[in-house]
Amino acid sequence: MSPTPKRPRRESRRSDPALFAGYKPLSGTFDEYFDPTRAPRSEAHRVIDLLEALGRAEFRSRQQLANATFLQSGITFSVYSDQRGAERIFPFDLIPRLVPGDVWARVRAGLEQRIQALNLFLADVYGPQRILAEGIVPKALVLGAKSYEKKVRGIVPPGGVHVHIAGIDLIRDPEGEFLVLEDNVRTPSGVSYVLENRGVMKKVFPRVFGNARVDPVEEYTTRLREALDAVAPAPDEDASTVVLTPGPFNSAYFEHSFLARRMGVPLVEGGDLFVDGDKVYAKTTLGPQRVDVIYRRIDDGFLDPEAFRPDSALGVPGLMRAYAAGNVALANAVGNGVADDKGIYPFVPEMIRFYLSEEPKLGQVPTYVCARDEDCRYVVDHVGELVIKAVNEAGGYGMLIGPQSKKKQRAEFRAKVLANPRNYIAQPRIELSTCPTWTGRGVAPRRVDLRPYIVSGRKSWVLPGGLTRVALVEGSYVVNSSQGGGSKDTWVLGEEHS
């Protein structure tokens, strides 16, 4: 007999309840792992078996390992409010979100179609304005939008590409249908977490991962580099591509640095660049170096103090002159905000029909445009049932979730909508799908969305999966990292395994 261990084992595998035991999907909501009868979906069988084989104690210790890895690797975001400029890790949940390959193929086609239409829309509104002339999208809505940038009317960006990088937020309705919730075609962030999450998953779940046959995501930075190189304005051997960041204090700095690192291009701040003779140069230790493609992670308003906000210390004076002269490509193009404006969103299906003569392949959430009298009246009468959003806000701010609101908040929003109807849209609350998520004690359903990334140079490429954001707070619908959201790895499963 072997000697008695000094301490009893903390938890024996046998007394350990199965990871998913007692899991109850929410009624009226699509669950990514289980059908309403609590039977595992076909694509989830294998992953459930693999995770349960680990046992709860082991799962918990791997979750801790994952958190330690993020901190050790400095995969963090900066928190503005914190005095020391502390960096936090973006909470990460180990249970992956699964997307069967055939479902993904349809989503991908829908995304490609949507980006194509949004790009044509931008080329049109900053060019001939056909869609406005034909009254498909109200002229006043576009030209009167804060996000419409008059200064770039007539400028055709290199290669005609406006939307080089897009992040389209998708949700899944109770029937499991993917719907577009929001377009992001200015400077969408989060893709670095997709890649880093995947790296951490491989490290903590090598066996699970190896047996699941998941579409790889590492290609992203290569594809991004190709797309950027494809829009370089003129062949100039000595010109280079850079990533432009607002600096280390920006909350997404980690991502800017990550992308520059993985693409093998310099990461620059506004102060590192200057414009001379309508050409852009970087200050280097060997003298000025031509720059002809800038993946900028600075908002339009801060790009060039000569053209936009004169108080901006982040930008490059004269950059817009160089852009207008066609000497530099900016990714994304300037003025894209008008395409992902919440007020324009309701018209995207019409854009698809207008420019592509196709029916939209991806649905979207029905939307009341308060600028229309009829819609406005409906919204004001049904505040308690709707999600009301200010068109100029993002990150889950400036928004009212009617069914979860207090009477006073509803009255406030009613007054706001009446005072400035053009600033608001409203949508029915969609029961976002849920995904099993570790709560610290067990596994419970939490609501998720999905942000796939689309990269476009000569043609478009969709990253398999994307960033799954999860509302970690029980009952919450808000997945934003600034408001208690976390993320998950997203597994697009090869079709033979779905």
């Binding site: 901190l71 050790q72 690797s73 400095g74 990533v243 600096g247 280390p248 700095y253 640095s257 990550f258 520059a260 690192r261 291009v265 310099p266 990461l267 620059v268 701040e269 102060g271 590192d272 200057f274 001379d276 003779g277 050409k279 140069y281 970087a282 200050k283 280097t284 230790t285 060997l286 003298g287 000025p288």
Partner: protein, 336 residues
């Protein structure tokens, strides 16, 4: 490479060198002051002088407490308001690294980040309280690890040379300061036969530069002020001698200069050559106990001037597309 990035490379290593040098200095002093009988004021305060923070320290600590051992050590290790404390310098090193992660290797970042996370940990504070020697050794080892990882994982091109340039210039300056302060502690007078207390001071100077064994590898060396000064200033291959670091700095500077007759780096190189000349002309035998302090103060000042020249020439260039000289040539041609 981007000028700002070059500056961060340079400073990353300067800060790290300060961490390593200070950790060693504190560790050596900890053992040294146990061995010798010294007035309170000569035990710890000189370390504040070495790092050039005497004025700041005195302005923030009550006069009755300035000599206290724990007060000095905590000021030099943990005080975030002291810009050259270990916690500040390591924090700056890490912050510089964080802003150039696309330039350094992943392994370098992880080494430095883990050093920083270690320093912030409560258990590390306990280690400091319980076993100070182990704390300093661990800190020093983390700096060594970084240099080794850099050597083994980073591309050996301009960013690497700027980092090594930073190390060389900072190290030259640290060695000059350590020598200066020990020289001051021993005091003036004719040097021939050292008293045991004086010998202990010179030995501590060598230890503070990891130089005891290398010193004795030179058969002509016996423990005297002049010999120690000569070794720390001149030895061409001792990794912490002033001369060795100036020679290395000259080499790295040559590697990062643009070439093709570009004026960038000319001034830095000229200043560096002059300092090297001054150092090589020193006569420790004649100066120890007399004018060595003035000479070393001048050397430290010259090193600072070199760093300023590097800043002006490499890190903060004028925003014009063509070098000034070419432009002027162009203009004069149209005039004639």
């Amino acid at each position: 490479m981007i000028s700002r990035v070059a500056e961060s490379c340079f400073w990353l290593n300067r800060h790290l060198e300060r961490v390593e040098s200070l950790a060693r200095l504190l560790d050596v002093n900890f053992a040294f002051q146990l061995d010798v009988t010294l007035p309170e004021a000569e035990r710890w305060l000189p370390l504040v002088v070495v790092v050039g923070q005497e004025a700041d320290y005195r302005s923030r600590v009550p006069a009755s407490q300035v000599d206290r051992a724990e007060r000095v050590q905590s000021y030099l290790v943990w005080d975030e308001k002291n810009p050259v404390s270990i916690v500040s310098a390591l924090g700056w090193a890490r912050e510089n690294a964080r802003t150039i992660r696309e330039t350094i290797s992943l392994e370098m970042w992880e080494t430095l980040n883990s050093a920083w996370l270690w320093l912030e940990r409560k258990s590390t504070r306990n280690l400091y309280d319980r076993d100070r020697h182990a704390f300093y050794v661990s800190l020093r080892d983390r700096c060594f690890l970084f240099h080794g990882v850099a050597q083994a994982t980073m591309l050996h091109e301009d960013p690497f040379e700027f980092m090594r340039l930073g190390t060389a210039l900072e190290r030259a300056s640290q060695t000059a300061r350590i020598l200066d302060v020990k020289h001051h502690s021993v005091g003036p007078g004719e040097r021939g036969v050292e008293t045991p207390a004086e010998a202990a001071q010179w030995l501590a100077a060598l230890r503070s530069c990891s130089g005891v064994e290398p010193f004795y590898k030179r058969p002509e060396n016996t423990l005297s002020g002049a010999a120690v000064a000569r070794f720390l200033l001149f030895d061409p291959v001792f990794p912490r001698s002033v001369r060795h670091n100036l020679l290395r700095a000259r080499n790295f500077l040559g590697l990062v200069r643009p070439g093709d007759g570009s004026p960038v780096g000319e001034r830095s190189e000229r200043l560096l050559a002059r300092t090297l000349e001054h150092v090589e002309a020193l006569d420790p035998q004649a100066q120890v106990g007399k004018t060595l302090h003035e000479t070393l103060t001048r050397t430290v000042g010259e090193l600072a001037a070199i760093c300023e020249a590097i800043h002006d020439e490499f890190f903060d260039p004028a925003p014009v597309a063509e070098p000034q000289s070419q432009r002027q040539t162009g203009q004069s041609q149209t005039q004639t």
